[in-house]
Amino acid sequence: MSPLVIILLSMLVLNIILILFYIVYSKKRTKNIDIDERGEQTKFKFSVWKKIIKMMIKKPKNIILMLVFGVLLALLDVIFPLINAGAIETFFREGNFDQTKYYIVYYILFAIACMIIVNRHILYAVRVDRQLAYDIRKETFNKLQELSFSYYDKTEAGWIMSRMTSDSTRLSRIISWGLFDIVWGSLNMLFSLVVVFILEYRLALIILFLIPALTVISLFFRTKILDSYRKVRKTNSMVTSSYNEAMLGSQTTKSLVLEEYNKESFDNLAGKLKKESIRANYFSSMFFPILLVASYVSVVAIMYIGGNLTIQGLVTVSGLYLAINYARMFFDPIMQVARILAELQQAQASAERIVGLLELEPEIHDSEEIKEKFGTILHPKKENYLEIKGNVEFKDVSFAYLKDEYILKNFDLKVKQGTSVALVGATGSGKTTIVNLLCRFYEPTSGEILIDGINYKDYSIGGLHSSLGYVLQTPHLFNLSILDNIRYGRPEATKEEVEEVAKLIGAHDFIMKLEEGYDTFVGEEGSMLSLGERQLISFARALLVNPKILVLDEATSSIDTKTEEAILKAIDVVMKGRTTFIVAHRLSTITNVDKILVIDQGKIKEQGTHNELLQLEGEYYELYKNQFIEETIDKSSKKAES
């Protein structure tokens, strides 16, 4: 048997062993994978990738250019040793120095080509990467605007945030650079193989037999490294929340004398992080040396077989140099390709989550017929919206968030236009559900809600919302100027209109006291303003859109007496002339409404005016008494302050 056959056979055996080992390893890994990692699976899902690719190729120019330069870069990498080999052959072997000037030109041209190609490929890859991230975020955000309220009730804000930030960034980075590296890497390997093949097929065979081994080794380490770093990241976030607890809970910790106990658990956690990090580093430190040795086995095989061929005159010296050079460099593209393959598993998890979000259909949506007439949320036909007067009727309405767990059952309610209704009841009594249904954040499970005698679904979501005003329990302001916050629901309103409603509400004075008046930015969540001021602004915001139906989810938190008076006044102002639903927590604010409903387990238990209900001495009486006492204590200790 010739040495070549021996070498190839033993490489073959090695490859088979490695591949078998890797298959066993992958099987075990899939079994052990953390259940926490939602949807993180090793199985390749074509349908998911199809969606992402579709999104990518909407703007194909940059992708094509990126790939073209990937091909060129692979060529460049293969050509450079060829020029060197040419120089070795021409000058060192043949001693033909006439060609010097040509080689000077070659090297300069090569340097220029290198500059252009390196520059362009980075530029286009960055563009593809960023554009894809941009597109993913854009589409996700659009989808989020369409989704109904139930989605937000079921989904944590943090979860959505990660889809919009880390997932979109990671996915687009892995896909764009991954695509580039795969094209570059595989072509680099292909081109070098072709060159060596043309030179001498026996040497090419040695390199070819090296590929599976190197790939399997790389894949193994890459997944190992990724897995261990995932663990590290998890522990790391636990460490961060420990710090957070130490800071927020410091006074509690001290009064419980828990410092030592907490320090011990922290050190355990930090120690775990240290151990896991060192272990992760262990694999990444092992990775390169093993690849190096593996690739040198084939380098030496080529030296031996190729050296023999050179001695026999079958291969030139520069040819041998080339083959050795390619074999020596071969692990670089393989490493890159293996990295991509391992990362794609990670990216697939991100892709699945994003595609899953994009494929969600809003639970509340208009029928085709209605859409035809009034348009969609994102493409409305406002001119067709029907006018709403504000007569509201709940007709035999039942509602359950979960199947058969009815929050509201056979609920009937009639509210005439321009009158006000207050809903009172314990948490979970169904009062919030009633206004959620009215706003069509949810739809009745059975029964119907009529507005001016027509089923409210016939107005379209946009049509209904354009006649609706909403004041939240905790007023949510946007990080805009006061002016833009007040005209949030009607961006085209003039400054005069805004000032007018602010004056009506009683917010004008405090706004004018601010240094920049209406142009003052309110900060994130309105943090620059006090709670009472934020509430006044949200009243002004609702008043400006002049809604026919107003929903007031009244604040629970106590505010100082002066602001409370201001708010009571503001409530009176906004209620005037429109149908108003108040979800009441503090009963002192609703003594003036036309009708108070005491809701208990989805049913109306008592109804009437404030005085009527007090006379009844029932549930409302008890509720009111308790609050009266609490508020009196509060007020008296505050009065004592002033």
Partner: protein
Amino acid sequence: MSKLFKWTKKHISTLIFSLIFAVIAPFTFSFVPMFTKYIFNVVLGHEGGDSKINLPRFLIDYFDKFNGLQAILVVGIALIIYQALRGIILFFNGYFRGRLAESIAFDIRSKMYFKIQNFSYLKQKNMQTGDLIQRCTSDVDTVSSFVSSQVTELIRISALLVFSAWQLSQISVELMLVTLVIAPIMLVISIIFFKHVKKIFTNIEEREAEMTTKIQENINGVRVVKAFNQEINEIEEFDRKNRAFRDTSYKLGQSSALYWGATDFLAMLQYGVTMIVAIFLAKANQLSTSDIITALMYIGPLIFPIRGLGRVISEFGKTIVSANRIEEIVQEESEYEVNGNLKPKIKGKIEFKNVSYTFPDSKEQLFKDVSFKINPGETVAIVGKTGSGKSTIANMLVRFLEANEGEIFIDGVNIKDIEKHWLRSNIGLILQDPFLYTGTVYENINIGNRNPETKVVSAANVAAIHGDIASFDKGYYTLVGEKGVTLSGGQKQRISIARMLLLERPVLIFDDSLSAVDTKTDYKIRQALKEANQELTSIIITHRITTAKQADKIIVLDGGIVTNIGTHEELVEKDPLYKSLWDIQGDLEETFNKYVEEAVA
């Protein structure tokens, strides 16, 4: 600089090892091409070992014993063994670097945690969580990777340059000198670039933060967006931010593309220049084929790593900033630097003697000459307006704050002489806004798991929280804290009372810690407490006169002084503040009935 290296002192051996390997790794690398040279010599039909082969004499002598193919095989196998040995060195190089980084990170993290826990009460009130978190996370990473990555990388790259240059000079000094022409230029370009890039990064981070804020705002305000029909405007607004973020990232792409393109151009040009010089050397018969093939293997390591050097140097500044930020925390005074050393038995005899207090950042005295006595087993209420210093008295009793003037005695011992942990293990302060740790309700009540379940339940019963807990889906195993369920203020307060009860402190201070519990439950809890422990000394700070009424003794704070001390009956007679509070709050039911009468009439 000393701030950077102080953390390595404890790990000096790991540091030395990683530095040694950072030098050995490139040193051993520099011999690899020499094996190739020997093989090419054989292939070319020369004597294997020529004068320019820088390998140990014994190795060359051994190789020289073989001829032709056999020589190639022997040298080749030697090369594989050599690379395998080098692989071990490379592994240790990486291993020690990681170990060093993690050991330093662990030390800093642990120290920071310790420091943060021991911040004084006043320091804690004034700190910003976000900033501190950053110091504990990204600043720690920066500093720990400085020694392990930056310093070792600096050494490694420099060693690689030196050894490659040395080996190349064995082949041809001229070639070595020519190859190094471009090095300083590359270094300067790299430093400039990485500094420039930092600015773009800050810009990108700002754009990203703006975009993230927009998303957050939209999600949190989804009700408003939908109710006001503003989806389209939200989309447009988000698109602006999304686009701005993308476009700044493009700029980074442009700069990077320019930099890598330009430096690759320089590198390739350098390669070309070296090759041309090599050709002229060949013409003058000063360079053989095997010489050039070997030389080519040294040019790469001489040209490319310089860019890495530029990066390391440009990151120096960032590291020093981080080290300073960490140092600020580490140097912060611990509250235990002022401490006592007595551990007396504490029963609950408390005496304030002419105590005055002024907040450090305030000109006005909070209170002066406050004096009162509390006997063991008594229930004492402190009432007064908000800001009258009620909580400050509580904070002084556990030494969160120290009196400016006057003295406090606990069972006859001056509080300044009592060890703080000991003091707090005896006087339990229950806060108005207590903190629950991440974990289950059970773990939060039974801190450290020191008590059997029956005791936990009975404590929960006394604190009137058992019913609430039982109504949760998972009962006592319901998760609370950051990732758990949201509890109401009253539930949190009651859990924190149950937790303190289990610790069996002889003295308890309720710092308005029943404020979010209704009056009825408030009463029930206090009754249960009395029954459970007759000897308990309790101090109740409250704004509910009905609560104060039942105390053995009531202390009224007003205008910075103690206006009166006495029972309810006494105070209603003689204390104007107390009387006015009682008049308003006093017989609440009656007031209410009067109100209803008026309303109905």
